[in-house]
């Protein structure tokens, strides 16, 4: 049990260190935090702006500012969503996966060994942090 607590403590310490590091970096290096979250999708812009675009993307466009531009060097389309929240980022990544691979990859629901009480308590929040990043 002690080692479980130690491991959870190590995980939390790692995340905390990353959070503090980011905070320090963002304070010093970027006085104005980036407003847009951007990624590049391996497809032509029409796929993302046309009527057959994924429903999730259409909903994202309704709820947020989203901009599209052709990536240099034939590398697809740059998509940016104006948000400081984690959830829209996760949704945009899901759109990218859907277009590039045909599905949104899941790990939730896979098999696993016995989770301790501490693990069961900490895991959902920790996973969410690891999915969305530290904001």
């Amino acid at each position: 049990m002690t080692s479980v607590i130690k491991s959870v403590a190590a995980a939390s310490a790692g995340l905390a260190a990353a959070a503090i590091g980011r905070r320090l970096l963002s304070r010093r290096a970027t006085p104005n935090p980036a407003e847009w979250y951007a990624l590049t999708i391996e497809c032509a812009p029409e796929v993302l702006t046309g009527p057959d675009r994924p429903g999730e993307l259409a909903r994202l466009v309704e709820e947020h500012d989203v901009r599209f531009s052709e990536a240099p060097g034939g590398r697809g389309t740059e998509v940016a969503v104006r948000t400081s929240e984690g959830a829209p980022r996760e949704r945009l990544r899901a759109v990218k996966q859907l277009i590039e691979t045909g599905e949104v990859l899941r790990v939730e629901g896979q098999t696993e060994g016995h989770r301790t009480l501490v693990g069961r308590t900490v895991l959902p929040g920790a996973k969410r942090l690891m999915r969305r990043g530290i904001r």
Binding site: Q97, E100, G102, G113, M130, R132
Partner: protein
Amino acid sequence: MKAVCWTGINEVSVEDVPEPGLLNRRDAIVKIIASATCGSDLHLIDGYVPTMMAGDILGHEFLGEIVEVGPDVRDRRVGERVVVCSIIGCGGCHYCRQEMYSLCDNSNPNPGFLETLIGHATAGIFAYSHALGGYAGSHAEYVRVPFVDVNAFPVPEGVSDSNAVFASDAVPTGWMGADIAGVGPGDVVAVWGCGGVGQMAMLAAKLMGAERVIGIDRFPERLAMTEKRIGAETIDYEKTDLLGTLKEMTGGRGPDVCIEAVGMEGHGTGAQYAFDRTKQALRLQTDRGLPLRQAIHACRKGGTVSVMGVYLGFVDKFPMGAVMNKGLTLRSGQQHGQRYIPMLLDRMAKGEIDAAHLETHPMGLDDGPRGYEMFKRKEDGCVRAVFYPDR
């Protein structure tokens, strides 16, 4: 089913867990034939990778039989004996299309941690902590394989299980170490670490035409195995001045290519090693880097250092001055296994590559904790323990 799970720092146990099911349309379920321990597992078990959770199933280097495929699987079939790349590619993103599978944009469902720590998320890896996807591992009776058409490769008949299992990770990682360093005829190549990856890097360098290949380690049985099975020269760094010996062996030039196959928990001698160990234990640095510093120091002017050992965070006293002033090329990366595995399986079928000798300790899943203990402590000459669920 039975599975070998991480249950806490330096704790591994065999648990009864539910059998995996298909979660995505391009998934397959693979019945494990053989699943190898890997040196990089030790960083997880030791608690140096912070996003492990008690109950995570270990194992990423494996061979098995496909028993179920999702509706969108096109190429792979039930009944095939396949080796699965330890690093997961999606096949559709920019990086996978460029055959840089370990940089896949889509196979890591938990990208947040790495985006914060290193700027970008890299590919998911089986059983390599939640920061790398949180995938259940292969030290079990069955495992779920995402994007199976991209990540699983049929093993030619006649290639033994004990040989083919290493085509999942050790052989392609070693091959890539030599390949990205541009090893060619006439080269002198030095490899730090005579474990599975190191030996396979040496074998790759020989097959690419290197004239002299030198393996560096401290375990007599690994050095002897490297001489006998790979035909490389060796240096025991505990018995001799490593950097001086390398200079002497290379006419003062230094090796053309230095391949580091050790990683963040490398060993060494002297005050620098003691200092590194202490700092890492106190979490003042995440990764120890003595072999890496040695490789950079030893490498000839204008040479290439290829880092295949696993690093996670920060190495102190990184000799940037040597990299810059000697005009070195630094190459690295988790293996782009999918790029190499079909060619490597062909070479295995032709008898050009045989990795089966790395399997010093085959055992059943019940022996998982003992296997890891032996592997970690290198007891009884253990180079790799390999688990066979049917034994």
